[in-house]
């Protein structure tokens, strides 16, 4: 993969790679609270059937995952584990923050033990608002993320222009910018 390392990738190859990446997202389910059930419904139930979107919800460990869905309330006691989990994932990695608690603290905005938003700890690509969001909302978040991955400049990410390339306007399901 020397071409990729140098960041010089022919356009058709980038398209091919991106398509491959976007339709084989291995998603690690980090279920913390109520939203975990809706995530389970979206990823594990026959009605919503996430695998038709090319998402594989069953990696055994975060080290095999491309995408993590943080769903539910993150407490200050839990936050270090979240950080460690994120650091274990291989690049390129994506984060979906599901539910109001993970987005901003939600109904526990004034609590003494809840982290008000996981974006204080790790960068977030997609916010799915709701308390809890319906499974369809999470699926839309996945689809929007796939669109973004398809348009991504892989070379830039590999060259380590990471900070610029990664920190972008996050997607908000049901509003906000969509590429």
């Amino acid at each position: 993969m020397g071409l990729v390392d140098k960041g010089r990738l022919p356009k058709p190859l980038t398209t091919l790679f991106n398509m491959g990446r976007s339709y084989s997202l291995w998603v690690y389910q980090w279920g913390l609270a109520c939203c975990a059930i809706e995530m389970g419904a979206a990823f594990g139930s026959p009605r919503y059937d996430v695998m038709r979107l090319g998402v594989i919800p069953l990696p055994a460990s975060p080290r095999q995952a491309d995408l993590v869905v943080i769903s539910g309330t993150v407490t200050d006691k839990m936050a270090p584990s979240i950080k460690r989990l994120y650091e274990q994932m291989p690049e390129p990695k994506y984060v979906i923050s599901m539910g109001s608690c993970a987005n901003c603290g939600g109904p526990y905005w004034d609590s003494y033990s809840v982290t008000k938003g996981i974006d204080q700890i790790i960068p977030v690509d997609v916010y799915v608002p709701g308390c809890p969001p319906r499974p369809e909302a999470l699926l839309e978040g996945v689809v929007l993320l796939q669109q973004r991955i398809k348009n991504e400049d892989m070379g830039a990410r590999w060259r380590g222009e990471g900070t610029k390339a990664i920190v972008r306007e996050p997607i908000v399901v049901g509003g906000g910018p969509v590429e």
């Binding site: 389910q29 980090w30 279920g31 913390l32 609270a33 109520c34 975990a36 059930i37 809706e38 389970g40 419904a41 594990g44 139930s45 026959p46 009605r47 539910g72 309330t73 407490t75 006691k77 839990m78 584990s81 109904p107 526990y108 004034d110 609590s111 003494y112 033990s113 809840v114 308390c131 809890p132 319906r134």
Partner: protein
Amino acid sequence: MTDLADRQKLSYIAAQAADARLNVELETEGMTLNIGPQHPATHGTLRIIVRLDGEQVVWAEPSAGYMHRGYEKLTEVRTFPQVTALVNRIDWLGSFANEVPFILAAEQLMDIEAPPRAQWIRTILFELSRIANVSLFLGDLGVQLGAVTPVFMAFRDREYVLNLIESATGGRFHPNFDRIGGLKDDLPAGWIAETKQVMKKLRNFCDEIENLLFGNEIFQSRLRGIGVIPADVAKQYGLSGANLRASGVDWDLRRDQKLPLAYDKVDWKVWTHPDGDSFARCWIRLQETREATHIVDQLLDGIPSGPIMAKVPRIIKVPEGEAWVSTENPLGEMGYYVVSKGDLGPFRVKIRSASFNNISIVPWVLRGVYVPDVISILASLYFILGDIDR
């Protein structure tokens, strides 16, 4: 009763003997195993530290608090209607059931009672949330023991119940439908017929699970005689719900206390099991799910007409006083000790959640068991993390 006591005693003695053998039979080097804080089959984060001697657990300590959100403090800075929205999220699988005891406590302090129609609809929704809760347990049970199919069945049939709750309350998960003095809204048209259909499907689901799991030889040998909790220990630790009834204690708050709910208007049965082991706990839950569908069916036939809201002031101020109301929630006894000072919000709310007591027995029950049984015992005790940590 003697039969029950003897069986319990025998299995208890067997467990004690295993305990005693532990250090005599085989000297092995101890090992500390960390389970959690995250496990793919759970929805929440409980960490359990077990010290092993060979394959047996010598010491186990659950480390809770990864989901502590500070409910009791937050209730002190919210008004009574706002607290209702908050407490939905304690036991997130049976959300509506969390609202009811709090609302009843507030109503008790204000000395009002919801009109009969509201009481019946409350009871129906209460039982629906029990079904939504326990059906997921029945599916999840399979996953924890290595069978993946039941969880798909559970998610499939649970959707029907969630659709019912959504069409009645507007919320799939957290309805926030209960109001002090009644309910937010009446039932939508066609809901009763639809619910009856769904109850049939759910009974079908119970039969499927019973055939698939409970008749399965592997399932039985993984659960029978494992994690026995004698009745007196269960009561000492304050176990409630199916965990208590599986130890042969005939105690169900739906039947055994007077509350303005419609349970005494229908014919139903409290299930108990004499064994007190993991299998009994799971079996009781299965029977209760089926019983709940029958309760709902009967209640649907007899909903009285009338208003759904009593006359309450627009701004709710609850008079000074203290009230304790607990109900038989899907997980067990859930109660609120509400202290009011005549203000807009409560002065102090002590939330007694079922899982907190149910899981506090873990250090006791895990002593001497084998490693694979740790997961099956925890699964059969059935906890929800939000309900432990609040």
